[in-house]
Amino acid sequence: MTDLVAKVEQFLAEHPTAGADPVEWLGARFDAGLAWVHFPVGLGGLGASRSAQQAVDEAFLAANAPQPNPAAPVIGYGMAAPTILKFGTDEQKQRFLRPLYTGEEVWCQLFSEPGAGSDLATLATRAVRDGDEWIVDGQKVWTTMAHVARWAILVARTDPSLPKHQGLSYFVCDMTDPGVDVRPLRQITGEAEFNEVFLSGVRIPDAHRLGAVGEGWKVATTTLMNERVTIGAHAAEREDGLIGAVAKTWRERPELRTPGLHDRLLRLWVDAEALRLTAERLRQGLAAGQPGPEGSAAKLTFATLNQAVTGLDVELHGEEGLAYSDWTMRRPKDADWASRDAGFRYLRMKGNSIEGGTSEILRNIIADRILQLPKEPRSDVDIPWKDLPR
């Protein structure tokens, strides 16, 4: 690990950060294998252990180095990259990973559909083979950052005669294809962070398929597991995240304090600290080669906590809590929640228990995979998708 930090120092000496063009600079970092050190050589990594990444990230942060593009990093970094690494061909890895890392190309995720949310495997978007291409038709929803994305990871149905989990395939979709129509989906916050995406006769080359035909569910599961870890396990410093905003207001505005809010605040402070330590324990476990199942717990707890904290935040603001800064329909390019008011955060965090797998689905996953409780009876898994009631 000290070797790697020395490598970072050397890289910084050769590539000064001051005044650097972020894309060029990040490209050089990728080429030096210091993007994701556990990725293979030539693909942004050095084949090092995953545990070394934190020291590398911290060294670059300390040097005030350009950071990866803040636009939709979760999808590209957290989900697309590990999925491409695991299931992609050499050509796909060479083509996609570098511009994904530098931020030249933003990614989005074409998974959810109006009729397939929690029950994602029910999805109806069709991909029909036509020579070396697939022709895709369907409608996707809740697509974060589709309005700025260059590429999308896409799950589509390639065989409706099979049971729902078996007839799916996984593709990389070019968002500039003329058949792709991205429309803003205005949310309860007033803005349109998400989109609806209509796919009409979109032609995807077979070379942009990830994994085997019919193996789409397996590939998607990898993406989704990475999504949960990404969403849940990111806490770092004490009072990092939303609790910090409320604590700050509490300290700076003594006139807003009440005894009832005080105990609630302290409880939530303890819960936030517990979540931070849980995420830290998960990170230490991963670094030591003992991946634990705490990622699922962290995502579940994160949602509950964020909603409680932002609810308290609105109440603490008293009369100001009645006001809302701006209902204008915007299409943001990043998730800058800290600069918005308490009301915005309150509304936005309602999505935390729905996006990336609802809390209910997550509890089912914990019950099945971790506690190994008896499963609920199901009637849908052996029936061809085309015969399922919808």
């Binding site: 849980t278 634990g292 717990a297 209910e360 008896p374």
Partner: protein, 363 residues
């Protein structure tokens, strides 16, 4: 950042304690024993304390201890909690030992470490680390007089560390319970597996400790509160495991009740909280071992794990249904332990109150 994982040594220690408790302290034995006049199995205590050397984990090697740290003690407490084993470990190996070490004693602490004698700390078990120094015992003409209620493990203690008010303020004294003028009156406890008693001192001879009494007492109570969180984790873990097993086998409406979503989701939530309790209690143990960030880590762990253990025991009882309400099922032993431990060494509210000052979130 503190080390939140279990080391190999700690895992080995856990395995040996669990093996011993599985053999010698199954819940059937615990239940059979709690209504007798010997609720504590002192044979088992001798094995744990003397043969395995667990009473001296916190004690340096030159005083006859194991020279280990709070991290190892925490692992032992997890197992003692998981088995609700009635032992004087909290009173003797944690509270009395910490107070004696902090006050610079080298004599009594060595006897406790060797498992030759059992000690405890003469404060009501509800005392929080940040409480005022107790004033119910006074030093008059060099002798101790006063009364202390709800002293943990006092029934089996050979020696007590007594906080008392002398002419110049707080003092700590060591008193053998066999001394003239000492009366020990057992109290029927809510927690059948952890005994409390009233201590009365009527002009009792004692040995005064030289160290700063207020600091030593506070250190002992902070250590106790931080480590009790690990015992509470053990209680919660048993409740989760036992309930998961039960709902997987109990059938109603033609299927195991663990296949009903209402129950599955409650257990998934409980599992998530227990996962957090592991991290939080490890952080407290590590802080006590390294001496860094102690007060905040302990307050967080005490608040979080106290409430979790009670919640876990209450969920366990409810999800066991009718059998959970019976004497013959052990869940009541865990509920009693969990609810009493919530009051022990500071309620969650008291710890959050302390936190308000520590992290600058004043009322």
């Amino acid at each position: 950042m503190s080390d939140l994982l279990y080391s190999e040594v700690e895992n080995d220690l856990r395995a040996s304690v669990r093996d011993l408790l599985t053999d010698r302290s199954p819940w059937t034995s615990v239940l059979a024993r709690v209504e007798t006049d010997k609720p504590y199995d002192l044979e088992l205590w001798r094995t744990l304390a003397a043969e395995m050397g667990l009473a001296g984990l916190l004690v340096p090697e030159d005083l006859g201890g194991a020279g280990a740290s709070a991290r190892e003690v925490a692992v032992v407490l997890e197992e003692l909690g998981r088995a609700v084993t009635p032992t004087p470990f909290l009173g003797s190996a944690v509270l009395a030992t910490s107070a004696l070490l902090a006050a610079g004693d080298t004599e009594t602490v060595a006897e406790l470490a060797a498992g030759q004698r059992i000690g405890t700390l003469a404060v009501p078990l509800t005392t929080a680390p940040h409480a005022d120094f107790p004033s119910s015992v006074r030093v008059e003409d060099g002798k101790l007089t006063g009364r202390v209620g709800s002293v943990v493990d006092l029934e089996v203690a050979d020696v007590v560390v007594v906080p008392a008010i002398g002419a110049d303020g707080p003092e700590l004294h060591v008193v053998p319970t066999a001394s003239a003028g000492v009366t020990v009156t057992p109290i029927t406890p809510l927690d059948l597996t952890r005994r409390i008693a009233t201590l009365e001192l009527a002009g009792v001879e004692s040995r005064k400790l030289s160290g700063d009494a207020a600091t030593a007492l506070r250190t002992a109570l902070t250590t106790g509160a931080g480590l009790l969180a690990s015992e509470q984790l053990g209680v919660a873990q048993w409740c989760l495991d036992a309930t998961t097993e039960y709902v997987s086998t109990r059938h109603q409406f033609g299927r195991p009740i663990g296949s009903f979503q209402a129950l599955r989701h409650r257990l998934a939530d409980l599992w998530a909280s227990v996962s957090s309790a592991v991290a939080v209690s490890r952080a407290a143990a590590d802080a006590l071992a390294t001496g860094s960030d102690v007060d905040i880590a302990v307050a967080v762990a005490a608040s979080f794990c106290s409430e979790l253990a009670v919640h876990a025991a209450e969920e366990a009882l409810q999800l066991h249904g009718g059998i959970g309400m019976t004497w013959e099922h052990p869940v009541h032993l865990y509920l009693g332990r969990a609810k009493s431990s919530e009051l022990a060494l500071g309620t969650p509210e008291r710890h959050r109150d302390a936190l308000a000052t520590l992290v600058d979130l004043p009322a």
